[in-house]
Amino acid sequence: MSSPAGMPRRSWRPSTAVRSAIAGERIELATLLRRRVIFVVGKGGTGRSTMTAALALLAARAGKRVLAIDVDAKGDLAAALGSPPAGFAPHVVQHNLSVLELRTDESFQEYLNIYFKVPRLTRLTPLARVFDFIATGVPGPRDMLVVGKIAYEERRKEPDSRAPVWDLILVDCAAGGQAESHLAAPKAMLTLVRGGLIRAQVEWIDALIRDSRRTTTVLCALPEEMPVVEAIELNERLRNGSGVAVDVCLLNRAADEPVTTAHRRLMVAMTDPEHADAVAQRLGGSAAPLEAGIDLQAHLNDTTARYMRQLRGKLPMPVVPVPFIVDRTGLTTTRAVADALSSRLS
């Protein structure tokens, strides 16, 4: 979908979030990539990993030192960057781009190690299990491990220059609801933990998440009923729950190659009994089945347009269509998506 007709192009600024409520307004890629932390969220199957990887490629191309974090740790993000499964330590994928995968158990040990200088010991396992139990019931600890690690990476400095190690951290969040509890964890934890060493840590992590200049969210959706409804609800809950900013919604697998009367006319003429045989001879097969392709394309265009309208009506942010890439997931697909994003995020 090209830029909506008659809509003046305006550059988007974070401080005027309300103004961006105007449908179809654009967000500049440079503005987006100027953040320190970008959480990529959305329902399963909406292409979160591919979008995270594509944004990471674009940021690295722009000369930023990028860390891409996979919270789900199913290896999808690494695969989308053409790398074998990564571990808990940042693993260099290409110049300026590293990836790491979070797993709760390791995160917990690392967390204790980083913040409280508790050695990584196996004899802590019973404690880890007690925590695991509390973490299941009490909001916070488990989710805090995730945001805690991210916040830690954000704060990391080069030992010599004291410059930040990463310019941008991109987080491929776990599916919908989980991402929400990760992001809301600090706030929830602050109401619960009134003392203890953790509180101070939680306070600055909470501040980082709420600072819209440093931290934002990218919402992924598909032109299908449930993913659209959930994207709208997720946006609301993220804003209310964690106070995190949501900058842009990427509508993946958007169909936007319009079927015109010229296409239809060709189709009708090719299948006309008068020409059908000659056409089949010349093309090497009957043209009749091709109509299904045109019909499906027209249907997908309609569906995409309808869901674009719905999203634009309900989301106070630009909604950017990302075309369907037929390739299997992998670096090739990611590159294609990155190219599409860079042309569409003006």
Binding site: L127, I134, G137, T260, L266, V279, P289, A292, V326
Partner: protein
């Protein structure tokens, strides 16, 4: 999408002109049908359509128990809203939409909060314990965040409904999970959770003096936890846990009965998936797990399969020529006496080729399904209409 546009696609119609009775009849003798699969594969829709197909094939009282988070199912079924109380779907409306049901079709929506509250009330040894748990601020958190808590609520509701015996057949739409296994593991996980020794550790065991009276060996851990989290948190958790432990016997007993029901010959699992890699892989995994759990897989429904027309070899050849042959546009212009630009010809070819590439991939993937065992595999073609319309639901019910 308008009606006449569909009429131009006879291929899509043909595949659904089957009369109801296939899967509806096969599953109609069961008392419980559980639809499982990853989120986003159309589980809710398929469950509703299955209920419809069963009620059409058999003179039975059928209940569809759904989670329908978008509440569109209610609209599609032509009723104002679905609540915890079952609502009957008017036969006349179904007939107008193209399906005649011999039985009775009702729908109810699962109320998670209510299911949990009732469970606490049922398993508590006395009212005071129940009240204390329900009032605990951690309770809501636990029921929300405990892995499999929604699944457990669904199973509980199913068990109760089945036990009451008001319906011949209950079709359950399982909650969208991160992991389809959550549903199968929920009862045992809850039992483990409530009965775990760690819980006793935290709650200070039967002495009921709170965590300060905790096991001596655990003391260093508790001190550390205390330092990290602050004392109040542990005190609150400990109190909650003590109460929860009183429910253990009840929950354990129920878990056993639930597993008996899930494994019984009156129960059948239907795995719903799409051909996309993620959900498909998970569905395959789930099928093997069902076998491990000794739970009966009765059918697999593959949703949104591209219609066969996209695998037509003649079509592929024609589309390839349109895309690759630089002289084809000129030839077409002359033959058809119509100005055909190269772009137009290429577009008509490429829209078909794109889908046909996907369709080939789908075939390879569907071929893998032979390995899951001897169960019917039903393909539902990708329809060009929205299934939130009743007619769409009916079309799927017929395809089943």
């Amino acid at each position: 999408m308008s009606g006449d546009e569909t009429a131009r696609v006879p291929e899509r119609r043909r595949s659904v002109r089957k009369e109801p009775g296939g899967l509806g009849r096969r599953l109609g003798s069961l008392e419980v049908v559980i639809c499982c699969g990853s989120g986003g594969v159309g589980k809710t829709t398929v469950s509703a359509a299955l209920g419809m197909a069963i009620a059409a094939a058999e003179d039975k009282r059928v209940l569809v128990l759904t989670v329908d988070p978008a509440r569109r199912l209610a609209t599609a079924l032509g009723i104002k809203g679905i609540g915890a109380e079952p609502v009957r779907i008017p036969k006349a409306r179904l007939r107008r939409a193209g399906i005649t049901i011999t039985g009775d079709l009702e729908a109810a929506m699962l109320d998670m909060k209510q299911a949990w509250d009732r469970m606490i009330e049922r398993y508590s040894p006395d009212r005071a314990t129940a009240q204390r748990i329900l009032r605990n601020p951690l309770y809501q958190r636990i029921t929300d965040s405990f892995v499999g808590s929604h699944e457990y609520a669904a199973i509980e509701a199913l068990y109760e409904l089945h036990d009451a015996g008001e319906y011949d057949c209950i079709v359950v739409d399982t909650p969208p999970s991160r992991n389809a296994l959550d549903f199968l593991e929920a009862p045992s996980r809850l039992t483990d959770y409530v009965g775990s020794r760690l819980l006793s550790l935290l709650s200070g065991g039967p002495s009921r003096f709170g965590f300060r009276a905790m096991n001596y060996a655990a003391a260093p851990f508790v001190r550390l936890a205390d330092r990290l989290l602050g004392a109040e948190v542990l005190a609150e958790v400990s109190d909650f846990v003590q109460q929860l432990q009183l429910l253990y016997d009840g929950i354990q007993g129920r878990a056993r009965s639930v597993y008996r029901l899930l494994r019984s010959p009156q129960t059948g699992f239907v795995v719903v998936t799409t051909v996309e890699q993620g959900p498909f892989g998970e569905a395959e995994f789930f099928c093997t797990k069902l076998r491990e759990f000794k739970m009966p897989l009765r059918a697999m429904v593959v949703n949104r399969v591209l219609p066969d027309v996209f695998r037509d070899p003649g079509g592929v050849a024609a589309a390839t020529t349109l895309v690759e042959d630089p002289k084809v546009a000129a030839w077409l212009s002359k033959e058809l006496r119509l100005r055909v630009s190269a772009d137009t010809a290429r577009f008509v070819g490429s829209t078909f080729l794109t889908r046909s590439t996907l369709a080939q991939r789908e075939v390879r993937q569907l071929a893998r399904l032979g390995r899951i065992g001897d169960v019917p595999i039903v393909r539902i073609p990708l329809f060009s209409e929205e299934v939130s319309e009743l007619e769409g639901l009916v079309r799927i019910a017929k395809a089943l």
